[in-house]
């Protein structure tokens, strides 16, 4: 059993193996290291064979976990040995022992390069592998060109080229410029035509890295990837050696699907169709088989296909297929499949429209929360956390709480944090939130961080309604015999502040409260004592008339700590005692704590920052991406825009008694604005006016004059608009002949329209027979839209008609639309648009085709909306302020207080603005609650026109804000202001019934009448 004839090495390994304990092993290793060291010192004595043997020993010792600080030089020197066996050892051991920053590695660059450009292909392979594994920047600079040449060389054999591909990947990561070569992306595409599977597999990994960084450059590779997949799926030209348990290289399939997930979409309809055929086949054709390996391999491909389908946001039908599959997986016994089912279902939450289907599996997921396998429990917890919303929060949180007491320690902290976050985010009412946290502390106090109980204090302090309830609850818990110290802290704090609200209840007199809290005193640590002292001082203050007995008891406690070694405790004891002798002064100083300023939940922040666990991170990030953070104020019924179901936002102030004043101010401001004179600046109380440079600057301008007549219809405009857009949504499809909706649209038309307002390509309309896609390009006031009319059927669509009904401000020309669309074909109809003047009116596509005897005639709003004619522009303060000043009030500068705004944090508003092509200029406004944005508007009339926008938000009430818009054109200012307002208040209603039945009062226009643009526009808007 000699190690390739190296007897000494075998003996050494046997010796190690026979060691009885770690100590013996260490002695044997030390002896060997001493031996090798003397051998290496006497360099002449060591032949290449000996060197080879000793270098292996060093690697072996290193693998056992012993530090080896010599022998590196010998390993490196073997690289330049002339014979293969020595060279090979040199390469392998070097790449195990050294890292890219090691000095010795630099010594080898030349030898490595000689092997790479030399003729010996086995040497080439060795050298490429070393560079691929540990090559650094210097290698990238000196070798990239040679490696590239090898990869694309036609004379080079696959065994070299496959290594060159991954070597290049390493060099690219060290220095991305190595692929900045003209025509590299074409070469890359050619590589994907490769027939050798080794080369293809490694090239695919290279492609994944390149595309993940810059997909734009590699569009040409996309159809090639789909071709590769098709070949594999059909098992065409797959050599037997690459078929694994009957499955054509599952690894290549998986990698290829991974590469496709880095392209944002697939626009070419043919490619998309081919890919979906493959995916469909995978989704439908993967059966459970007996052979474990075959089963695993086929499911590896299946899970990757699921991920790709989710990424491509496929048709609803396919999506529900995916959800159904996942639903099946999370219920199977086989743990790997169940684990992956849960993991992928969590990813699925990102896809809109399926949340409700996922919720149906809640009970099943909860079962997995109790699985004996921690990996599975983690996934289940993550999924539950991700799918939680206001509708199921109670169930899920209570389930987590229940599980908490039996959960193992490794998970308790995570569970507590998640329960606390969910309770805060989705509490249907505040008292429930308090209950949950108290239970949490009761059951897992050690795992409840201070942040959690601080947050409860904030909520209770800021919500008067909650205070009595919280005090009562605290009183209940503190009565229990052994409670966690965190519970002592929280209850003591709350009782100190609010126990006077309970005064008339039995067992709640100040004396009784004091004595039950004081019972816990001997058990608490120094960090809790100061809190208790404050509580006592407060109890004392609330005891009116003073109770001498209680007073003496409490003074005794203070007295005891007046000489405490802990400075904090001592100071409190001394001060409280002195203060409490002052009578009335105590009242002021110990008065109830003021309300806290609104702030982001420290918990959620903590969760976002935490690096603790990948499992934890993923879901929290996902959650953060999905939903806004919970710093909105009031429990609102408003629907957030991102398609999630209505979420009751917990808020710090439920009864906005303090912010009432502001609101009144704001209301006052509005009425005055309408009436005539001034707008009162509803500055949030926390902001210091002196720091508000813009405010100062704007102040006088604002008061100057009455707003122009154009700004009048403010207050009811909001509701009016909302009604309008709803009506439009409802009317978006009006089947002409029969009201019973023979042809139902797929997906929500209004939602699709709203999505297209923010992006330039996507589906405008779809029903079982036709799909209308749109792709648009915008340059200044010109736009070019292409309508893709795709017949999904196997029969031709006839009597196709498309009529554009442009509003007066748009000039639109649609090229000829063919009367018939052949089966499974797609026709493209370009549509030219010129914007004449600013307006929010919307163009309508009156589209019809005949199916059987029925005419289907949807009327579709076209996304040629105002923001498409905007060009983002960043302005500097030097440019901004003079402009802002020179546009001095109506009609060029309009201001309005907007209410009923969908509450969103400022960052979200900023990203909304950016997606509307309004460039947010950070730092221009010194007040962090305000935001300034700029953009350029283009139309024939106005030409390029700079627009400036300022939003002032009130952190205490996110449902209102003040908006100022300025530009050089009165109509533009007004239209832009109204447009932004619509974006802030009107919400694309998520997932409604697919085809809203038109209200009966609305006469359905017959096809002939529908050619009158006026009628249709009136109906739509």
């Amino acid at each position: 059993m000699a190690l390739s004839g190296m007897r000494g090495l075998s003996v050494f390994i046997s010796d190690i193996r026979n060691c009885q304990n770690k100590e013996q092993e260490r002695l044997r290793v030390d002896k060997e290291l001493g031996n090798i060291r003397t051998r290496f010192k006497n360099e002449k004595a060591s032949t290449p064979y000996e060197k080879k043997k000793y270098v292996w020993k060093i690697l072996y010792i290193y693998m056992l976990g012993y530090d080896v600080d010599f022998g590196h030089m010998e390993a490196v020197s073997l690289i330049s040995a002339p014979k293969y066996p020595e060279k090979q050892v040199g390469y392998i051991v070097t790449s195990c022992l050294l890292n890219e920053n090691h000095d010795f590695l630099r010594l080898a660059i030349n030898a490595v390069r000689n092997d790479i450009i030399g003729r010996n292909e086995t040497f080439q392979c060795l050298a490429l592998t070393l560079v691929g594994n540990i090559g650094g920047r210097e290698f990238a600079e000196s070798l990239a060109a040679d490696v590239q040449k090898l990869l694309i060389s036609s004379s080079c054999r696959p065994l070299v080229r496959k290594k060159a591909a991954l070597c290049l990947l390493r060099l690219y990561r060290k220095n991305p410029d190595v692929v900045n070569v003209d025509g590299w992306s074409d070469r890359m595409a050619q590589l994907l035509d490769e027939r050798d599977f080794g080369v293809l597999t490694s090239s695919m990994s290279l492609l994944v890295a390149l595309v993940s960084n810059n997909h734009e450059a590699y569009w040409s590779c996309l159809p090639k990837c789909v071709k590769v997949l098709e070949k594999l799926a059909r098992n065409q030209d797959v050599p037997q050696e690459y078929t694994y348990y009957g499955i054509p290289s599952p690894w290549l399939q998986v990698k290829t699907m991974r590469a496709l997930q880095y392209f944002p979409t697939i626009e070419d309809p043919n490619t998309r169709r081919s890919l979906f055929e493959v995916l469909q086949r995978v989704l439908m054709g993967t059966d459970v088989v007996k052979n474990v390996n075959k089963n695993n391999a086929s499911h590896a491909v299946l899970f990757e296909a699921l991920a790709l389908v989710m990424h491509l946001d496929a048709e609803k039908e396919m999506m529900s297929q995916c959800v159904a599959l996942l639903g099946k997986f999370i219920a199977v016994r086989e743990p790997n499949i169940r684990y992956l089912g849960l993991e992928n279902m969590t990813r699925m939450l990102m896809v809109t429209d399926v949340q409700d289907i996922i919720k149906r599996h809640q009970a099943q997921i909860i079962t997995s929360l109790k699985d004996p396998d921690i990996s599975i429990r983690r996934r289940a917890l993550d999924l539950l956390y991700g799918m939680c919303d206001v509708s199921n929060a109670k169930d899920i949180v209570e389930e987590i709480l229940q599980y908490l007491s039996s959960a193992d320690f490794a998970m308790r902290e995570e569970l507590s944090l998640k329960a606390a976050i969910l309770a805060e985010k989705f509490a249907p009412d505040m008292s429930w939130y308090v209950d949950v946290i108290l239970q949490l502390i009761d059951k897992a106090g050690d795992f409840v961080s201070d942040d959690i109980w601080f947050r409860v204090v904030q909520f209770v302090t800021n919500n008067e309604d909650l205070q009595t309830y919280a005090a009562l609850k605290a009183r209940e818990y503190v009565d229990k015999p052994a409670i966690h110290e965190t519970m002592v802290k929280l209850s003591a704090y709350i009782l100190g502040e609010y126990s006077h609200l309970l005064a008339r209840r039995p067992g709640c007199s100040p004396k009784e409260i004091f004595s039950i809290i004081h019972e816990k005193f001997p058990t608490v640590s120094t960090s809790t004592i100061p809190i208790l002292l404050s509580t006592y001082a407060k109890i004392l203050m609330h005891t009116q008339p003073p109770d001498p007995e209680l007073q003496n008891q409490i003074w005794a406690v203070f007295g005891k700590f007046e000489s405490c070694i802990d400075a904090e405790i001592q100071q409190r004891a001394v001060e409280y005692r002195a203060l409490s002798r002052k009578g009335a002064a105590l009242m002021d100083i110990l008065a109830e704590m003021p309300k806290f300023p609104e702030r982001q939940s420290a918990l959620i922040k903590k969760a976002e920052d935490s690096e603790a666990d990948t499992a934890e991170q993923s879901a929290i990030k996902l959650r953060a991406a999905q939903q806004q953070t919970s710093n909105a104020l009031v429990v609102t019924d408003q629907r957030p825009a991102n398609g999630t179901p209505p979420v009751g936002q917990l808020s710090l102030v439920k009864v906005p008694s303090v912010s009432n004043v502001d609101q009144n101010n704001a209301e006052l401001g509005v009425t005055q604005a309408n009436g005539a004179l001034t707008i009162v600046d509803p500055q949030p109380p926390s902001s210091t006016p002196s720091a508000d440079l813009l405010g100062d600057l704007l102040g006088p301008l604002v008061i100057e004059g009455p707003p122009g007549a154009t700004a009048q219809p403010e207050p009811n405009l909001v509701s009016g608009l909302e009604g309008g857009s709803n009506a439009a949504d409802a009317l978006a499809i009006a089947p002409v002949e029969d009201q019973s909706n023979i042809v139902q649209p797929i997906g929500n038309i209004a939602e699709r329209f709203h999505a297209l307002c923010l992006k330039d390509s996507g589906v405008l309309y779809e029903d079982p027979y036709i799909q209308i896609g749109i792709k648009a390009e915008w340059r200044a006031q010109h736009g070019r839209l292409i309508l893709f009319l795709g017949n999904k059927n196997i029969a031709p669509l006839v009597s196709v008609k498309a009529l554009i009904l442009p509003p007066s401000h748009l000039k639109m020309e649609l090229s000829l639309v063919p009367e018939t669309i052949p089966p499974r074909a797609q026709v493209q109809c370009p549509l030219e648009v010129i914007n004449l003047q600013p307006s929010r009116d919307v163009a309508v596509l009156d589209f019809s085709y005949k199916f059987g005897t029925h005419v289907v005639n949807p009327k579709l709003r076209l996304p040629a909306v105002l923001n498409k004619f905007l060009q983002p522009i960043q302005v500097s303060p030097e440019e901004f302020f003079p402009q802002w000043r020179s546009l001095s009030g109506p009609p060029l500068k309009l201001q309005e207080v907007v209410r009923g705004v969908r509450p969103m944090p400022l960052v979200e508003m900023a990203s909304l603005f950016n997606s509307l092509r309004l460039t947010v200029c950070p730092g221009l406004d010194p007040n962090p609650n305000n935001m300034v944005a700029s953009t350029t508007f283009y139309s024939e009339n106005t030409r390029a026109m700079l627009c400036l926008i300022r939003m002032e938000t009130d952190p205490a009430d996110r449902t209102q804000l003040r908006m100022t818009v300025a530009s050089g054109d009165p109509a533009l200012t007004f239209e832009l202001k109204e447009f932004i307002k619509e974006q802030l208040v009107s919400i694309p209603v998520p997932s409604r019934a697919p085809a809203p039945v038109p209200p009966p009062a609305q006469p359905v226009s017959p096809p002939t009448a529908s050619s009158d643009p006026g009628d249709i526009l009136a109906g739509l808007l």
């Binding site: 390994i13 080794g198 694994y244």
Partner: protein, 143 residues
């Protein structure tokens, strides 16, 4: 990046082969190997083959007395890695004939050669057993 490391560890937790595709210091390796070996070896047959640890996901498989542990990042498909382990074992089987722990111990260099033909820079290079083994066979012939 994909595969971060491949470990072969016996029932007693002794490392029989370690190949890293990212640089970790010796102390980091020792700590990491200790932690994951403890975690994985304690698991039962009925539990799944994936363990989450720090930023890694460990995909592991047990063959008699030997555990194969592969550390991957989020870029990898877990089941594909699980079967890749099996492919590695089958390849070793083809070469050694029913591979066992001792084969790997006493032919560490061959195990390394095979791995080097299969994985490079954390990515899979080759999955054909014939292609993986051909350089080793060449070498055996030469010596």
């Amino acid at each position: 990046m994909g595969i971060r490391f491949i470990l072969m560890v016996n029932k007693q937790g002794q490392t029989r082969l370690a190949q890293y595709y990212e640089y970790l210091t010796l102390e980091e390796r020792r700590a990491l190997e200790g932690e994951i070996v403890r975690k994985c070896l304690a698991r039962t047959e009925q539990q799944c083959s994936f363990v989450e640890h720090r930023n890694y996901k460990i995909v592991y498989r047990r063959y008699a007395s030997l555990f194969f542990l592969v550390g991957v990042d989020n870029e990898e498909n877990e089941l594909a890695i699980l079967e890749f382990i099996h492919l590695l074992v089958e390849t070793m089987d083809r070469h050694f004939g029913n591979v066992c722990e001792l084969d790997i111990m006493f032919h560490l260099e061959k195990a390394h050669f095979m791995l080097e033909e299969m994985v490079m820079n954390g990515c899979i290079v080759e999955t054909s057993k014939a292609n993986i083994l051909s350089p080793i066979q060449l070498m055996d012939k030469a010596s």
